[in-house]
């Protein structure tokens, strides 16, 4: 990518536009209603992981701040990727066969390095995955509560991936050296079969650090954070002398909220000039490495891919590399209520089928497209509308030329982070 997309003057205009609004202007309505006590879903640090997961599922959110009343302070965020790493840790691990490459997908690639670092299966019995009681009525689909969770290519790695994956292997103990107190505690407790409290896994994956802004901050400050790949910002009271507790949190600002704000203001200057541009003109669909698994691979490979590649969404492709669908950590969350250990062995295509069936039943029997995709000439406004209406965090850009040998192979993916990065 050479050359600037916008001139410094254009960037200055954009920044000034964002600076005119405060974070309160973009927060979901439920957090702004006067008089009512805003309800930010938080989790107490001492509850078991299974309970924290249940909170995420019940409120249909992908992350929640974790509060330790004994300190008292917020100690981090628990998010679906933390839960996924926990699942991988307590189930029999196996070599990962996820792959990343740019554009063209070759047949059967087994990533040898990934398989040796993914962790060796212990010969001991590992504790079976705790079974959550399925709740009648299904998941709360309240749109207001949904939060963005997905990662994207190129997030800054805060720790050495090789060292991190070694943390999770518990085969021969001589080769593994858990890092840090929290990890050692997790491992010890697993061996003693004690319930693991959520504080032990919050922020474990070291992504999505707990970011905050006061309610008086501007959207320019929020955009600075979001464009680095952070997906949600906890909004704290405007008055700095107010203690920050679960009861005083003002709300959670997400990337979805920013896209909604943009969509609501798309006729305002300076955004009105930009939303009609095609995503290829905004350089949003340049070929990039796509994390993918083959349709017949088991779901556990998807979880490994999410963990190793630091992605929250993994493409599922058929034998010839065509995009069939994708599995995101949101999907894993939705299926968690009925998760049985056997689910991890299920072929991805079948898992996608189950997720889509569930969505169909919640959508008045209407089927959804297998792959939410756009072409490179789609205007930004249309892509944003799709993200909002479909409540997804990325759309795929696929090869649309029927005579190309890569027809319907994934070429690129446009995520909310990509869009927000361009508009600052």
């Amino acid at each position: 990518m050479s050359g600037l997309l916008f001139t410094p003057e254009q960037h200055a205009v954009l920044r000034a536009a964002w600076a005119k609004y405060s974070v309160a202007d973009a927060l979901k309505k439920q957090y702004r209603a006067p008089g009512t006590k805003p309800h930010v879903v938080t989790v107490s640090a001492d509850v078991p992981v299974e309970v924290a997961l249940d909170v995420l599922v019940r409120h249909n959110i992908n992350a929640a701040p974790v509060y330790d009343a004994s300190l008292p302070a917020f100690v981090g965020m628990v998010a679906m990727h933390d839960v996924i790493e926990y699942i991988l840790a307590i189930t029999t691990t196996r070599p990962s066969t996820s792959t990343v490459d740019s554009g063209v997908l070759a047949d059967d690639e087994l990533d040898e390095t990934a398989s040796t670092t993914a962790g060796t299966a212990g010969s001991d019995d590992v504790a079976p995955l705790a079974l959550l009681e399925p709740e009648e009525g299904g998941v709360n689909g309240d749109q207001g509560a949904a939060a963005v969770d997905e990662g994207e290519v190129g997030t800054t790695a805060s720790s050495d991936p090789v060292r991190r994956t070694r943390k999770w292997s518990f085969g021969s103990s001589t080769s593994t050296e858990p890092d840090g107190l929290a990890l050692a505690e997790v491992m010890a407790r697993l061996r003693d079969a004690h319930a693991v409290s959520v504080a032990c896994i919050a922020d474990l994956s070291e992504r999505d650090a707990f970011m905050t802004l006061p309610a008086t901050a501007t959207l320019e400050q929020a955009m600075d954070i979001f464009s680095k790949g952070v997906h949600r910002i906890v909004i704290t009271p405007a008055d700095p002398s107010t203690p920050v507790t679960p009861a005083t949190l003002v709300g959670i600002l997400t990337q979805s909220d920013m896209i909604q704000f943009l969509s609501d203001h798309e006729t305002d200057h300076p955004w009105n000039d930009l939303v009609h541009l095609r995503i290829e003109d905004l350089r949003l669909c340049e070929p990039k490495p796509i994390v993918h698994v083959k349709a017949f691979q088991p779901v556990v490979d998807v979880l490994h891919a999410m963990h190793e590649q630091r992605m929250s969404s993994v493409a599922v492709v058929d034998a010839s590399g065509r995009l069939l669908g994708n599995i995101s950590s949101s999907d894993v969350k939705h299926m968690m209520r009925h998760l049985r250990l056997g689910t991890l062995d299920m072929p991805c295509a079948q898992f996608v089928n189950q997720v889509k069936t569930k969505q169909m039943l919640e959508n008045d029997g209407k089927d959804i497209v297998p792959v939410i995709q756009v072409g490179p000439s789609a205007p930004l406004a249309q892509v944003m509308r799709i993200l909002l209406v479909m409540r997804v965090h990325r759309v795929w850009c696929t090869d649309q030329n029927p005579s190309s040998p890569q027809f319907q192979a994934p070429v690129s993916v446009v995520s909310m982070t990509d869009i927000l990065r361009v508009l600052l």
Partner: protein
């Protein structure tokens, strides 16, 4: 030499056709469908059937209550496969009937008559399970490329699987579409099979399905006026009562898969249109369990269900 009567007779007993027979049926059917325009004109009396989604026993029920083909003329609005347990038998039967009685049964293309969709929603998996190869899936999905997109009954009732498109105002515009390909992810052909009417809007809106559009009464009135039609008949949407009439009787949805996915508990219907263009919605429920077998869910097994499986996903 293909003995279609023998094929049909086998299929009515839910016996699969051999792979080479499927290949020949699909090859011949493609030749026949090639001659059909994107808009086929047909006449009443005709019985219109909505989505059946591989629910073979309910298709048999339809023939029981609506009359057998060719004694009754049928128009199927698409979505023959996916979700039900007998997509292969269902589409095999309809393909043979179409080949045998080309002017007594009409088959439209639905959004599920697509390679991408059938790989996710069950048909591909079922073909692999019942034939141990992807060939049958390929023969059928290649044939789907030839299915027509719409029908007009008696010059006044426009029939399509999904709905309208912002790119298509006249029937002539539909006629010039090149339909002989996989359904694209957007554009007029995608819209015809994916769109839904919505009485909360008056024009076009973004569809929560991720393809096609939602469309309102203004769009419908304009389309009917421009094309001298009186009504739009479509399927594509689950109706708890089996059918739904919208926009002050300008649009009808027909749904023919009772107890959809074997768990929705909905009714189904077929629409019988007489030469005087009288309508009769023949509503029916799922075929009694005693009349149907259901496959065991314990994976494996090429096809023949043993006895009692009562667990559906």
């Amino acid at each position: 030499m293909l003995d279609l009567d023998a094929c049909i007779s086998r299929l009515l007993q839910r016996q699969l056709l051999a792979e080479v027979v499927v290949r020949d049926v699909c090859a011949k059917l493609k030749e026949a469908l090639l001659k059909e325009s994107n808009i086929q004109h047909i006449s009443t009396p005709v019985t219109v059937v909505g989505d059946v989604h591989g629910q073979f026993y309910d298709v048999l029920e339809i023939f029981k209550i609506g009359g057998h083909c060719p004694d009754t003329n049928y128009l199927f609005l698409g979505d023959y496969v996916d979700r039900g347990y007998y997509s292969v038998e269902t589409i095999s039967l309809l393909a043979c009937l179409k080949l045998r009685y080309p002017n007594r049964i009409w088959l439209l293309r639905g959004n599920h008559e697509s390679r991408a969709v059938t790989q996710t929603y069950g048909f591909y998996t079922e073909c692999m399970r019942k034939y141990n190869s992807a060939n049958v899936w390929r023969y059928f999905t290649d044939m789907f490329d030839f299915l027509t997109l719409s029908v007009v009954i008696d010059n006044v009732i426009f029939c399509v699987h999904g709905g309208l498109s912002p790119s298509l105002h006249t029937l002539d515009q539909i006629r010039v579409i090149d339909r002989f390909k996989e359904i694209p992810h957007d554009g007029p052909m995608a819209d015809l099979v994916w769109s839904d009417p919505d009485n909360a809007i008056s024009d076009f809106g973004i569809s929560p399905r991720g393809a096609g559009y939602t469309f309102g009464v203004n769009v419908v009135e304009k389309f009917l006026y421009l094309n001298d039609c009186r009504h739009i008949l479509r399927a594509h949407q689950l109706c708890m009562e089996g059918y739904q009439v919208l926009f002050d009787d300008l649009v009808t949805t027909v749904w023919s898969a009772p107890n959809y996915c074997y768990r929705c508990g909905n009714m189904a219907s077929i629409l019988e249109i007489s030469p005087a263009i009288d309508r009769f919605f023949n509503v029916f429920g799922a075929a009694p369990d005693t009349d149907r077998e259901t496959p065991s869910t314990a994976g494996g097994g090429a096809g023949d269900p043993a006895s009692t499986p009562d667990y559906f996903l």
